[in-house]
């Protein structure tokens, strides 16, 4: 369920280069005595049309901004009754300087101890994503998308799912827009969904998906995020996932959202070599929808996760810019981004090393009852601070 939110940039925040030094058409005058001459002069020479008396002997005068000059102000000040006359300086809210104004609404970052970590620069690491596409022009994704293959479909992310996933992975940090991603890495998008639904749902184009998997294996990406799945396994897919493993790509996939509908085993999450991710809510309990099973690797935030949406609405998605969505789709990119951070810190590690590290540094949550592994949480909740801490 999408939760629409407001604009990412507060209306009181003007871009730094657009800020005014003075309030247009306003002069403040301090007059010692009850005299009218300075105001009459301003009325005559600068189109003064209104005055506002402040406390004491300060007066704000509304004038024609085009007539305001240093000479005009000096002439006013030449009156013995006038202590000073000056333009009203512009002032703005310092709070508006805060970076990524929505990041305090990203509960998931606190849950995975992202704020407690000194994340390495990961700009050299690319996370591949096979999804519904991406809005490359989103302010929080500018410069983030290293490549975008949408062959056979339009570039528009009609559903918005791929843009949401991309934001969780790599939304820009320290800017004035929106949210932050888990890693400062790059994203390579393969759009594997069509532009139109089939019988009401969007299904992967199977041939395009297999070709994308092969392309990822030779792309140089270190991580592949798959926030998709289905109940049927495929030998052709397994063949390609084996090749991805050999190519050094850490593959992360969603456990699925059908816990209360039979809790099926889903693929690609259940393939060998794929790290399967379940979802937790803000309470650190399993998200009710999140599938469980022996193949689960670990868990990550997946309920009400705030991230980016395309800036333009579509017939399938009225919301734009930012929204909170739920699903193991949202948990998975937290782990994919964490894998990118590991790859940045340990560029020589294999996918097996990376997955073992992610599981080994996961935090045990209360519902695990002291066990090192459960079918609800796997090895536990993703813990960025522990993941990046030196041994």
């Amino acid at each position: 369920m999408a939760v629409p939110l407001q604009s990412d940039v507060p209306t009181f925040l003007a871009p730094a280069h657009d800020r005014l030094e003075y309030v247009p058409g306003r002069i403040v005058v301090r007059v010692h005595d009850d005299v009218r001459e300075p105001f009459e002069y301003l009325e005559r020479e600068a189109g003064a049309h209104s005055v506002e008396s402040l406390d004491g002997d300060l007066t704000i005068v509304w004038v024609d901004d085009r007539e305001v000059s240093t000479q005009l102000l000096r002439t006013v000040e030449s009156s013995p009754a006038v202590a000073f006359a000056e333009r009203v300086p512009a002032r703005w809210l310092s709070v508006a300087e805060a970076a990524d104004p929505r990041h305090n609404r990203q509960w998931g970052l606190r849950a995975i101890r992202w704020f407690d970590a000194e994340a390495p620069a990961a700009e050299a690491v690319t996370v591949a994503i096979c999804d519904t596409g991406v809005d490359e022009a989103h302010p929080d994704l500018e410069g983030v998308v290293a490549s975008y293959d949408h062959a056979g479909a339009t570039a528009t992310d009609i559903v918005g799912h791929g843009t949401h996933v991309s934001g969780i992975v790599a939304a820009r940090t320290d800017d004035v827009a929106g949210v932050v991603g888990v890693a400062r890495c790059r994203v390579a998008m393969w759009k594997v969904f069509p532009d139109e639904p089939t019988t009401g749902n969007f299904y992967v184009d199977g041939s395009r998906f297999l070709r994308a998997l092969n392309a990822v294996a030779t792309s140089g990406a270190k991580v592949l995020n798959l926030s998709l799945g289905g109940t049927q396994s495929s030998q052709a897919e397994q063949l390609l996932f084996d090749r991805l493993e050999r190519a050094g790509v850490t593959v992360v996939a969603a456990m699925g959202n059908e816990h209360d509908h039979g809790n099926p085993v889903e693929y690609p999450a259940a393939y060998e070599h794929v790290l399967a991710v379940g979802a937790v809510a803000e309470t650190n309990r399993r998200s009710p929808f999140s599938n469980t099973g022996a193949h689960i690797g670990l868990a990550a935030p997946g309920s009400n996760v705030l991230s980016t949406l395309p800036t333009q609405p579509s017939s399938f998605r009225p919301d734009t810019r930012y929204a909170s969505w739920s699903g193991t789709s949202m948990a998975t990119p937290h782990v994919a981004a964490a894998a990118a951070l590991v790859a940045a810190q340990h560029p020589d590690w294999t996918p097996a090393d990376t997955k073992e590290h992610l599981r080994g540094r996961a935090a045990k949550v209360a519902d695990m009852g002291g066990k090192s592994f459960t079918e609800e949480f796997g090895a536990g909740l993703l813990d960025i601070a522990a993941l990046l801490a030196s041994d």
Binding site: V204, G206, N214, L228, G229, G230, Q232, L239, Y267
Partner: protein, 69 residues
């Protein structure tokens, strides 16, 4: 319905309408993967036939995958 299948090394098989999944790839493993689109009412029989063929390593319907969020 789409059916994908992999031929055994060195094997050949004439399946009308089948195309290579990776037409430009010379890697033997990828070059032996094919896909064929068939009407739903013909697909089950065709799949059975492919599975019985000694030239085929595996044959399967293309798996459905959908979004998890």
């Amino acid at each position: 319905m789409r059916i994908q299948f992999k031929l055994r090394e060195g094997a050949t098989l004439d399946v009308p309408g089948a195309v290579r999944l990776f037409p430009d790839d010379t890697d033997p493993e990828l070059a032996s993967l094919y896909v064929v689109e068939l009407p739903d009412d013909e697909a089950a029989d065709a799949l059975d036939e492919l599975k019985r063929s000694s030239a085929v390593e595996f044959a399967e319907p293309q798996a459905e995958r959908w979004l998890r969020g």
